[in-house]
């Protein structure tokens, strides 16, 4: 099985879809000659030409909005918003238009649009280039939300997102791009709405997304040396959410930690905690612990930045706290 980086895996999904299907095309800022600010789309211009790999002006409203219009006409556009912080400019089109056209039209219209974006802290991007905003979109009926944490997942989930007939917001994490992993030669679409159990365990379930999946796996390893057996589950699709797998895991382990890089308050971990406390109430032996960023805009100086966002140690501490209970 060949090894691809997370970056290459995303690119591979895009390239294959572009190759097989004339209705797929890309739009975004600096995705052509430059290959994207994260080098994800490198080489695609050469293979597919400027009609299908479209550099856009700095117009986040129009990028998403024109993607919607093209999607309604039967195309499958994949648009890129360079940093998810700039999704703040596209919210109207995403939330009021893409998510609602189908319902408002009584089922006449479908919007098979994929919005790729990325973000995350690391190497001091500062407060306006590092947010993790996936929780907002989970609150919007009509959108699907994906957050891939491994090369294999990134490719299989992006493929499914492109071929889903609904608008999908597809989150990538900036620090994961160089991450390597086995990815099968044959592209296996990964169905949206299916969690992945990364590691089985008996004592605590960590439900983690994005970069924190890897931090959770490190923490689990460490916890193992302390005699704590940790199960790590990545929902991968945040909406629709695989509640069944997650709740079953916590019913088994009886303890739970949620972990993401986004701010804890109002984050996706809140939704997870609400679902889990409901579904596994009689099984839980400790309160669900939430790990995430502290409540502050991300400062520049590395020491402050690293303090704000969570790491493996934070997950480990939460695991210990939850085990220490009763």
């Amino acid at each position: 099985m060949p090894e691809l980086t997370y970056r290459e895996a995303v690119r591979d999904a895009l390239a294959r879809a572009l190759r097989e299907d004339e209705s797929v095309f890309l739009m975004g800022e600096d995705i052509a000659e430059m290959g994207g600010s994260m080098a994800v789309t490198q080489g695609l211009l050469a293979e597919f030409g400027p009609k299908r790999i479209r550099n856009t002006p700095i117009s986040e409203i129009a990028i998403v909005g024109s993607g919607i219009g093209a999607a309604i006409q039967g195309m499958r556009p994949v648009v890129e918003i360079m940093y998810e912080d700039f999704l703040t400019l596209s919210m109207e089109q995403l939330v009021n238009q893409a998510a609602k056209h189908r319902t408002m039209s009584g089922g006449q219209v479908t919007v098979p649009l994929t919005i790729r974006t990325q973000g995350g802290a690391g190497w001091s991007p500062g407060a306006q280039h590092a947010q993790q905003l996936e929780a907002w979109f989970v609150h919007v009926p009509g959108l699907k939300v994906v957050f891939a944490s491994t090369p294999e997942d990134a490719r299989g989930l992006l493929w499914s997102s492109i071929y889903d007939d609904n608008p999908v917001v597809f989150f990538e994490h900036r620090t994961l791009y160089p991450l390597k992993g086995d990815v099968p030669d044959r592209l296996e679409p990964i169905p949206l709405g299916k969690a992945r159990v990364h590691r089985e365990g008996e004592d605590v379930t960590v439900v983690a997304t994005g970069r924190l999946v890897h931090e959770a796996l490190k923490a689990a390893e460490e916890a193992g040396t302390e005699g704590i057996s940790v199960e790590v589950v990545d929902p991968r699709t945040l909406q629709p959410l695989d509640e069944e797998t997650i709740v079953a895991s916590v019913r088994k382990t009886t303890r739970c930690v949620t972990a993401h890089e986004a701010v804890v308050r109002g984050g996706f971990g809140a939704e997870l905690a609400a679902v889990i406390q409901h579904g596994a109430f009689d099984w839980l032996d400790a309160p669900i612990e939430r790990v995430g960023a502290k409540f502050a805009p991300l400062p520049f100086a590395p020491a402050m930045e690293q303090w704000v966002v969570p790491h493996a140690e934070d997950v480990l501490e939460a695991i210990r706290r939850t085990v220490a209970r009763g």
Partner: protein, 330 residues
Amino acid sequence: MATVEERAESGGRRVSEQLLKTFFREMLLIRRFEEKVEERFRAGELPGFLHVAIGQEAVATGVCAALERDDVIASTHRAHGHAIAKGTSVERIMAELYGKLEGCSHGYGGSMHLYDVEVGNLGANAVVAGGIPGIVGAALAFLMRGEPRVAVAFFGDGATNTGTFHESLNLAQLWKVPAIFVLENNGWAESTPATQQLPLPVDELARRALAYGMKTIEADGQDVEAVYLAALAAREHAAAGKGPVLLHLRTYRLTGHYVGDPQVYRDRAELKGERETKDPVELLRARLQLTDEGLAAIDAQVTAEVEASVEFAKAGTDPSPEDAAKYVYA
């Protein structure tokens, strides 16, 4: 929408009396429809937010007549006229206002979200300028696939103040997509007059296009013939691959912003003056020299059509409550 034959008869650039009569009938239908909407609203029968375009009928009729059936439009909160002119029956629109499954959006949309994809209506939009970027994308799809279609966005003067408008027109011109941007300039955004919302003289709003180097075509929005010819020219330009057009139509909103608006902000004498001199239905009637009888005959027809639409709507089927969740995902 005029048929190809009707347009041919008009000799391409001159409008036949017959076609003008067709326009008149449609404009009167829109007028009577919206008067009925006001009446049924006052009777307490219609939920939701309603905006009529009384005074702006020539825009809807003139523009849509210049389009082909395969062309698409995106409409606004002031949507009834556009929907009728693009080819949706008044029955299905009225049923929509009553929230019935038979409605053109099957009861999910209401007045501000009239869709009818079959005739190319991609939906009215309750967010000002919200539908414009989608039209750029539709036009882009036509361009990429080499289809001889154009995409048309309706919007008001107030919408030109939005960032959404700016990014859309800018991108459309950059990529030379076959789109027409119909600026339905009635000089008001709700209660806010042009002087309080536009940094340009209201009659010079076509200058917005200068920021993009976009072609503009202008016409008197109260003169359906002028609108029609201007729209034909715009369509020709866009469809020929020469890029999008800003079609600037100066028009008048002869009623309140919404149905029920007391218009405390509006000068009564001015409004009265506009009603007397700017009514596009009256102007066309005069031009066609319709006799009272001639008028009455048409009026009886369209009034009956509107009445029937109310009957149709009332006899329609209410959705079940749980239908609400039917179309969240495809």
